[in-house]
C-alpha cells in the first residue's frame, strides 16, 4: 500500500517562545487490520502504519506505536513546546517498509 498515501498536518506557522502549540496529523491509509476476510473467506493480510513520530529540531515530541486497532486514516492530536524557530518533522512507518514524511516550519516571533 504505497499509492495514495497522503500525510496532512495542521500546525501553526508562528509561536511565541515557550508556547505550547497543538498539532493535528492525519494520513490516508487503509490500516488493514488482518482480522477481516474477503468475499471468499480468505483473511486479508495485515497492512498498517506501525509507528509515527514527531520531532521538533531533532527533539522527540511524541513517538507512537500503532496497533491494528487504530482506525483507518490514522489521526493524532498532541502538543509540543516551542522554544526556538525550526521545523517539525513528522514520520510515518508502514508495515511494508515505506516511510512517509512531512516537514512544517515554525517561527518564533
Amino acid at each position: 500500500m504505497a499509492s495514495g498515501v497522503k500525510p496532512r498536518v495542521k500546525s501553526p506557522k508562528t509561536a511565541s517562545a515557550g508556547e505550547v502549540v497543538t498539532l493535528k496529523t492525519l494520513i490516508s491509509h487503509p490500516m488493514e487490520s488482518g482480522q477481516r476476510k474477503d468475499s471468499d473467506g480468505n483473511v486479508i493480510p495485515r497492512s498498517i502504519i506501525n509507528r509515527f513520530t514527531c520531532e521538533l529540531n531533532g527533539n522527540m515530541v511524541v513517538d507512537v506505536t500503532l496497533e491494528p486497532a487504530i482506525s483507518t486514516n490514522p489521526y493524532f492530536e498532541f502538543e509540543a513546546k516551542v522554544d526556538a524557530t525550526g521545523e517539525f518533522k513528522f514520520t510515518w512507518y508502514d508495515d511494508d517498509g515505506d516511510v512517509y514524511e512531512d516537514i512544517q516550519a515554525i517561527e518564533v516571533a
Binding site: E55, M60, V61, T65
Partner: protein, 138 residues
C-alpha cells in the same frame, strides 16, 4: 438421531470450550498489560481518559488521554481480538503528556489507559464504551 455416550461427551467438551472463550480474551488483556508494566501493579492517579459513552460506529471511536508527568501512555481495548491499541512515548519537546486519536472497537467493552510515570510507577484508568456496530468487519 440417538444420543450415544460418545456424542454426549463431545457435546460436553464443546460447551466447555465455548465457556472458556471469554476467559481467554480476559487472559489476553492481562498478558498485554503485564507486558507493558512488567507485572507491576498499576494504581490510580492523575490520568484521564476521554471516550464517548456510546459509539455508534466501532470503526472510529475518538479517544483522548492525558497524564501529566507520564513518560508513556498505552491504550488497551479489553474486548478486541488484539488488546493493544497504541503506545504514546513522550519526548523532551512534548508540550503536555496528552494525545488524541481514533480507534477501532470490536464491541461494547472497557477501554483502559495505563501511564508509566517518570519514577517508573504505573497508573491506570478505564472507561466503558458501548458500541452499536463493531469495527472488526467480521
Amino acid at each position: 438421531m440417538k444420543l450415544t455416550r460418545r456424542d454426549a461427551l463431545a457435546w460436553g467438551l464443546g460447551a466447555t470450550a465455548v465457556a472458556m472463550l471469554p476467559m481467554r480474551a480476559f487472559a489476553a488483556i492481562e498478558d498485554s498489560i503485564a507486558e507493558f508494566t512488567g507485572g507491576a501493579e498499576a494504581g490510580s492517579g492523575d490520568i484521564s481518559l476521554d471516550a464517548p459513552e456510546i459509539a455508534e460506529n466501532g470503526n472510529t471511536v475518538p479517544v483522548s488521554v492525558a497524564a501529566p508527568g507520564a513518560v508513556a501512555i498505552r491504550l488497551f481495548a479489553a474486548g478486541n481480538p488484539t488488546p493493544g491499541v497504541a503506545t504514546f512515548n513522550f519526548g523532551p519537546a512534548a508540550g503536555s503528556q496528552s494525545a488524541s486519536t481514533r480507534i477501532r472497537l470490536a464491541g461494547t467493552q472497557d477501554v483502559i489507559a495505563i501511564a508509566q510515570m517518570e519514577d517508573g510507577s504505573f497508573i491506570q484508568t478505564a472507561k466503558t464504551v458501548k458500541v452499536t456496530i463493531g469495527g472488526c468487519g467480521g
